[in-house]
Amino acid sequence: MVDLEVEKTLREIRERVRAEAAAGGEEPAQAPTRGAELSTLDAATGAAGVSSALGRLEVNVSTAERARSRLPPLVSNRKGWPARLELWVKRQIKRATHWFTWEQVNYNAAVYHALRDTHAALAALDSELASLRRQLHTFEEQLDARDARLSEELAAGVASLRGEQRAFVDDIHREQRALASDLRREQGALTDGLRGDINGGRVEARERAAHVLEEQRVLFRQLSLEASERAVACERSRRDLETRLAEIKKDVMSDK
């Protein structure tokens, strides 16, 4: 019975070692060489790998829990008292080396506890990672939805702007036509007004010319009268001068 147990235990250990060796040999070849590539790993594949690794870790932890305080059983191939003697000697040796094996047992216990805690932490991390993945997925879905909505709105805005542009251009053309029509009408009115003004100006100019002519006539008459007055004054001065000259001449003659 004991042998069967030992044999089973050894087989498990052997299989585990082989599996670890196989995993350790393959890992470097499969491991991504760059961080960027890590981020591109398929999330599902990554999650499955982590889950199987955690499952294997859990199996190994349960094995370690079961076998942590177990030492090889005391067996003898002899029979009879030699067998008893041999077992007695081995028991004594076992007792005598207890101080040494006890440390191995303690080490095993510590490894077991470390592995269990590691397993729990990794499981929590895995769970959190799964949650984050779900959130990320949700967020991506939201982003996609928003992106789709914005694209729709943008397309609607562009269509609306195109419509408004067409309406604006139509308005401009309509206003241009109205303005051109108004300008033509105003130009006509202005032309008519100018014609009227020109005619009025002609009348006014004629009136002013008549007024200036009247003023000129009065001025010429004034000048004429002033000239007559000056002529009279000159004539008088000339006569006075001649009289005085005659008197001087007379005086000179009388002096002589």
């Binding site: 003023e215 009065v218 004034q222 002033e226």
Partner: protein, 443 residues
């Protein structure tokens, strides 16, 4: 001090003086009425008139529109210079024999050209740094023994701030009033002349008499402390009342000279005479006013003559002073008369116009022409422009006249051309302007 005009914002000095001192007023001596010699407006001119010799050569420095045109009544050869070409032209039109636009420091005349160099209200407008050059130039053009006569605006530093003491705003306001950039006290002015002329005499004026306009201006603009109620009283006078006031003031002004009364300093005005020879009497040195009354007598038997400039014609107070419309014409109120003597009048001619507002067939101006009370014509004027009129005179009017005639014009409505003119306060009523009143006595 040179840029006082610029600091006062006056860029074009000639234009400033043109707008200040050129008007449509007629200063031509031929239109002078003898009674005007008492008007305060002519009081300073009369002082010069009574101090220049008849028939002499006179230069008016800064002649404006013809301030001394009346001197032509004394038979002087009258020349004028002014900073403004428009002023020079106006003076020429007012009877000056020759005028020119000139800088007073460079008169356009040869040395020793004039017996008299005169100016009225000019040296107060000459900046301090130019005054001495102007006086030296006056000396240059004066003949030996010639006299320079000036009426000069002054200041009283006790009453008025000097230019340096004024703020920019005060300075601007002060110069903008009349353009005074060179006011000095009387003694300072006399001292300037003494540096150039060995004989200088001066007397203050304006201590007793000022025109109503000057009283108000000195009070309002220059801040002189005249009695408030007196200034308000002057402000309320009508045009005719102010004229009466100015005549009285002018009469007093003239009497100060006639009686040789030495007035106290006024800080406002002074008369100054200077010469290189000893001076005669300060006032009335060559008083001879016969020219004011006689003018050029017409021939007794002249077949036609014009009353506008006739020395024997008497225009009553219904007429206003002659204006340049053009031509030169007299505006009248509702009724105006002119009296004259003539052996016989066969026809009267005249030119007449109006600026009466709202004139038209619906509201014509009714006019009536009378000679010695006899109606020659009555008609309605309903259009603007000059109207040439000729009225034959009935023989019975001549028979009853005895050589004395009185032409009367009546208008049925008048208007006030400048009712809102606060500065001029001209409330005169006007109806028509008349000129070229020709008397024809052809048989």
């Amino acid at each position: 001090m040179k840029d006082l005009y610029a600091r006062a914002g006056i860029e074009d000095v000639a234009e400033f003086y043109r707008t200040k001192f050129v008007s449509d007023e007629v200063l031509d001596a031929r239109y002078f009425r003898p009674v005007e010699r008492f008007h305060m407006h002519l009081a300073r001119t009369m002082w010069v008139y009574d101090n220049v010799r008849a028939g002499s050569a006179v230069l008016d420095v800064g002649c404006g529109a013809g301030t001394l045109a009346l001197l032509k009544r004394k038979g002087v050869a009258l020349a004028g210079v002014d900073l403004s070409a428009d002023c020079a032209r106006a003076a020429r039109a007012n009877g000056y024999d020759a005028t020119a636009r000139a800088d007073l420091r460079r008169l356009p005349f040869p040395d020793q050209s004039f017996d008299y160099v005169a100016s009225l209200d000019v040296l107060g407008h000459v900046s301090f740094d130019e005054k001495s050059a102007v006086i030296s130039e006056i000396r240059r053009v004066l003949r030996p023994g010639g006299v320079t006569l000036h009426g000069i605006e002054c200041t009283d530093r006790g009453m008025q701030k000097s230019y340096e003491e004024m703020t920019e705003q005060e300075l601007r306001h002060f110069i903008q009033i009349d353009g005074h950039v060179g006011l000095e006290e009387e003694e300072e002015v006399a001292a300037r002349f003494r540096r150039v002329f060995p004989h200088v005499a001066w007397e203050p004026r304006y201590a007793l008499s000022l025109s109503s306009e000057e009283f108000i201006k000195q009070h309002d603009e220059y801040g002189l402390p005249f009695e408030e109620d007196f200034v308000e009283y002057l402000r309320g006078l009508s045009f005719k009342e102010r004229r009466a006031f100015d005549m009285a003031m002018g009469y007093v002004f003239a009497k100060v000279s006639d009686l040789n009364i030495r007035l106290p300093r006024s800080g406002l005005y002074m008369f100054l005479k200077a010469s290189d020879a000893p001076l005669g009497p300060f006032n009335n040195e060559h008083r001879d006013r016969r020219g004011l009354f006689s003018g050029a007598p017409r021939e007794e038997d002249a077949p036609r003559f014009c009353l506008d400039r006739d020395a024997g014609a008497r225009f009553d107070d219904g007429w206003h002073e002659p204006n340049v419309l053009p031509p030169v014409a007299r505006w009248m109120g509702a009724r105006a008369r002119v009296s004259f003597s003539a052996a016989r009048v066969s026809e009267l001619r005249l030119d007449l116009t109006t600026h009466l507002p709202e004139l038209g067939p619906a509201r014509p101006l009714g006019l009536e022409i009378l000679l010695n009370g006899a109606r020659l014509s009555a008609f309605s004027l309903f259009r603007y422009g000059w109207l040439e009129l000729a009225f034959p005179v009935p023989e019975d009017v001549n028979a009853a006249a005895g050589g004395r005639f009185e032409l009367e014009i009546r208008a049925d409505r008048t208007w006030q051309p400048r009712p809102g003119d606060a500065e001029g306060r001209d409330d005169r009523e006007m109806s028509v302007a008349v000129c070229n009143i020709e008397v024809i006595s052809d048989e």
